[in-house]
Structure formats: C-alpha cells, structure tokens
C-alpha cells in the first residue's frame, strides 16, 4: 500500500521538477538568452514596407546607423570645457521655478560644454530633492544630429551593452540610455527611420521624434507603427509616460502607484523649442542621491522650460555619457556604482 502511494506521488514530483526546469528556462529566456530579430516586415516579400525596411536594414548592416566616425569619443577637437571652469553658473529657468515637491537646492553647476559643427551642448549638475540631476542643454543645427543606436548595432532581445560602449561605437558626443526595448515583447520600435517592431502595447504612450526634430506623444492604441513611419517618425520610444505636454506637467502625484511614487534614478528627454533639447539623468539609490519620483522629474522638466518631455528607462539603466565619460553615478545590481547594460541609446553627434 505504501509503495502504491509512493508511486502515486512520483508523477507529482516529476511535474514539480518539470515546473522548476521550465521556470529556470523562462527566466533565462527573459534575462539571458540572446535573440536577434529582423526588422518588422522584412519577411513579407513584395510589400511596400518590406522594400523600405530591407534597404534600411542594409544601411544598418553597413554601419551607417551606428559606428560612424563622427566625433571620436574623448578625442574631439571641439571646444570642451572641463568641470569647474565655469562652476557656479546658474540656470535661471530651473532656479526660478521650483514647486512644493521638487526642491532645487542649488543652481546648476556647469560640468562641461561642447560646441562644434552646429552642435552646442552645455552639461550642468543640479541638486533636486536631495538628488544629483545632470542636464545636457543641447542645441542642434540639424535634426540629423539626434540619433539612436542599438547595442552591438543589432536589434534583438537580450542584446545589451553599456551606454558608454554603444555611444563610443556610435561616435557620440552625448548619449543617454533609451527605452530598453529589448526588455519588452511589444511596443513600437522605430529607430533612425526604420520600423523594427510594429506590435502595439496597450495604452502605451510613445515619444515620437520626427524628421524635423519635433516631438510628439502618441498612444499606441490610436495609431499604428506604419502610420507613424509614414507621418515622418524618425525615432519612436516606447516607455513613458509623457512627463510634460504643452508646457505643463502631465503626470499626477498619485499616478502609477508604486513605480511613479518611488524615488529612483531617472532618465528623460525634453524639447524646449525647435532643435533645442534637454537630456536629463538623475542619480538615485545612493547615500548621496535618493532619486526622483516621476512627478518630481516632470516638475523639473517643466521648470527647465520643456514643452514636451518624456520618461525613458530608469533605475540602474539611467546613464549619461558626455565627451567620452559617464558623468552620473549609474547603479547596477542594487547599489553598486556601475553601468548597466542596455538595449539602446539616444545620442548626439
């Protein structure tokens, strides 16, 4: 009888073991196993989209998207000022406009500047709500200078590199981490005018950067990726939410309970006016910097004068690269100060 009962339980234990093995596989599939994908529609022979994408994909393979020898990282001949040269500079826009929940304790300190070939960048450090926030004020002569790049110049899942590594390979002067598209299985991905993923993520608010450099916020429930491409989208980032729209904060303090209210490292990008952008990265999870909530970040972006601002992947991913160096304190695996590997970056060259 005992033997029979034991036999009866064997399949139960076998199933539990199978469940364990499956879970390990699922975790590996999520975080470790690398998969390289083709751009959306490349398999659809004869379609108009396929023609566009295949030519664009070749362009990517040729290295035109990432890896161009623009300005060699850390070796540019532009005018770069070191930190401290203009220390004490203040940003009136940010200093004058602080709200109840966002306390800017001191005015921005210039970390460095860059000016060459129609690209003008001033990077400043602020103290906002016990957090170091790095702001790159960017003015471009052409929208072509604002681009994105994939890790290993490859579109896929679990294909990752550090922001500095991707930026360096792309010849970027300035870069911030993107939306970590590789961590999601849905959400539009359009980069440098190429449609890579057209699977909509329900109610996802996307940042659309058009060919002329203007920003738009679109909901994936309302528009297809192909329509965005047809409308001139050059970059589509699917993370969010939108922080500022029409010059006003567009998130509430109680929105997205949990993620939003927690103080964490953050990354955001905003536009002030034509070809004038703010790249923002905040520290967090350290004794020096607690981090910002989404609402605090939104208020800060608004105070900088952004008409549209958008939240990108944060936490350990938050990294700002400028002139060959990582200038913030990115955290990885908890509170270790080290760059996390990410799927993609937005950069200026």
């Amino acid at each position: 009888m005992k033997k029979q009962r034991k036999r009866g339980r064997i399949w139960e234990w076998l199933y539990m073991a199978l469940l364990g093995v499956f879970t390990v596989y699922a975790l590996l599939d999520t975080f470790v196993i690398t998969k390289v994908y083709a751009a959306a529609g490349t398999a659809a022979a004869g379609a108009e989209t396929a023609d566009t994408v295949s030519s664009d994909t070749e362009e990517t393979d040729d290295g035109d998207t990432a890896g161009d020898a623009g300005v060699a990282a850390g070796d540019d001949s532009g005018t770069v000022a070191d930190a401290g040269d203009t220390a004490g500079d203040t940003d009136a826009a940010a200093a004058d406009d602080t709200s109840d929940s966002t306390q800017t304790e001191e005015a921005g300190t210039v970390i460095g500047t860059y000016s060459q070939d129609g690209v003008s960048i001033t990077v400043k450090e602020y103290r906002v709500s016990d957090t170091s926030v790095y702001v790159a004020d960017v003015t471009l002569a052409s929208a072509d200078s604002l681009q994105s790049a994939f890790a290993d110049d490859t579109y896929g899942k679990n294909v990752t590199e550090t922001t500095s590594s991707i930026a360096s390979a792309a010849g970027a002067v300035l870069a911030i981490n993107g939306d970590f598209y590789g961590a999601q299985e849905s959400g539009y991905v359009i980069r440098n005018g190429v449609l890579y993923r057209d699977t909509a993520s329900a109610d996802s608010e996307d940042l659309v950067i058009y060919k002329d450099g203007t920003f738009g916020i679109e909901n994936e429930s309302d528009v297809t990726a192909q329509e965005l491409l047809d409308n001139g989208a050059e970059q589509v980032l699917s993370f969010g939410p939108a922080l500022v729209e029409d010059g006003s904060v567009s998130v509430t303090q109680n929105e997205e309970v949990g993620k939003a209210k927690a103080s964490n490292p953050r990354t955001a990008i905003g536009v002030i006016d034509s070809l004038h952008y703010e790249f923002v990265v905040s520290d967090g999870r350290t004794s020096e910097s607690t981090g910002l909530s989404l609402y605090q970040l939104a208020e800060f972006m608004e105070s900088l004068g952004c008409t549209t601002a958008y939240n990108l992947d944060g936490g350990g991913s938050s990294t700002m690269y400028f002139n060959g160096e990582v200038i913030n304190q990115p955290t990885t695996n908890g509170r270790t100060i080290a760059e996390r590997k990410v799927s993609d970056v937005l950069y200026v060259k």
Binding site: E12, L19, T23, A26, T30, F31, A183, K259, A262, N264
Partner: protein, 155 residues
C-alpha cells in the same frame, strides 16, 4: 472494493495523516512565498508588484484553507485529484512569482501565459476527477454524500 468497506474505514486515519502532512507542506509553502515576496519587494526600490506581494494567496487559499475544511468536515478527495490540484496550485504560485519578477524588472515574457493555462487545466482536471470519482462512488454505494469516496483508490 466498496466505498463503505472496512478497508476504506481503516484507511481513513492514514488518509487523514496524509492530509495533515499536505497541510503542513502548504503552510510551509505559504510562509516561504510570503517571506520571499516581502524580501523581494524590500529590495525592489519601491517598485511594487501585486504578483509578488500576493503570490502566497495561492498556497493559502488553494491549499491551507481547503485542507483545513476537508479535515474538519471529514470529506476526502481522490489522491490522484489531490495530486492534480497540488500541481495546479504550484503552477499558479510559480507563475505568480515569475510575473512578479518580470513586473518589478519592468519586462514581459510570452511564456508567462503558460503558467495560467497549465494551472487552470490542472485545477479543472482535479475538480473533474473528484466529481467523476464521487459520481462513481455514489453509483456503487448509493451514497448521497461525497464522504468516503477516496476508498476507491485503495483497492
């Protein structure tokens, strides 16, 4: 063997012991998942996941509570059905923890859907098997209650 045979009556104590052992395992699993979820949440930098926090409800509501009711009422379920039910609860619990990990990290995986499908199938199979055994038992003995139906498996 009849559901009302002496053999079945003799096996009641053994089955009760088995149920108590299963109850102990479920209580341990509930406590483990509760602590695991709390610790994971503690180190998740304020990123909240209902999957992670409430995963312990599966072994609690699907194991501890039903077993306590069964022990109190004296009702039994077939061992095979109990096995299917246990596998279903384990699948839901593992799936919930998996979804919690993904949610806290901020990612998704299509494989998470398999947990919910497999768990539902296993639980449904357990319930159907119990109902089938009960009906068979009642047919043989003319009993109108489900008591003692697990005697079927002891032959």
């Amino acid at each position: 063997m009849s559901c009302m045979s002496n053999e079945w009556k003799n096996s009641t104590q053994r089955q009760e012991d088995t149920a108590r052992a299963a109850l102990g395992r479920y209580e341990a699993a509930t406590a483990f998942v509760l602590v695991l979820g709390a610790v994971y949440e503690y180190f998740s930098f304020g990123v909240w996941s209902g999957f992670m926090v409430y995963a312990f409800l599966f072994p609690l509501a699907g194991g501890v509570l039903p077993l306590r009711i069964l022990l109190r009422t004296g009702r039994r379920i077939p061992a095979a059905a109990a096995g299917l039910w246990n596998c279903g609860i384990a699948t839901f619990t593992a799936g919930c923890l998996f979804c919690g990990i993904l949610e806290i990290y901020g990612t998704t995986n299509r494989l998470s859907g398999i947990y919910w499908i497999a768990g539902t199938v296993l639980l449904a199979a357990g319930v159907l098997l119990t109902a089938a055994e009960k009906a068979a038992c009642e047919r043989r003995t003319g009993l109108q209650t489900g008591k003692g139906m697990t005697g079927i498996r002891q032959k």
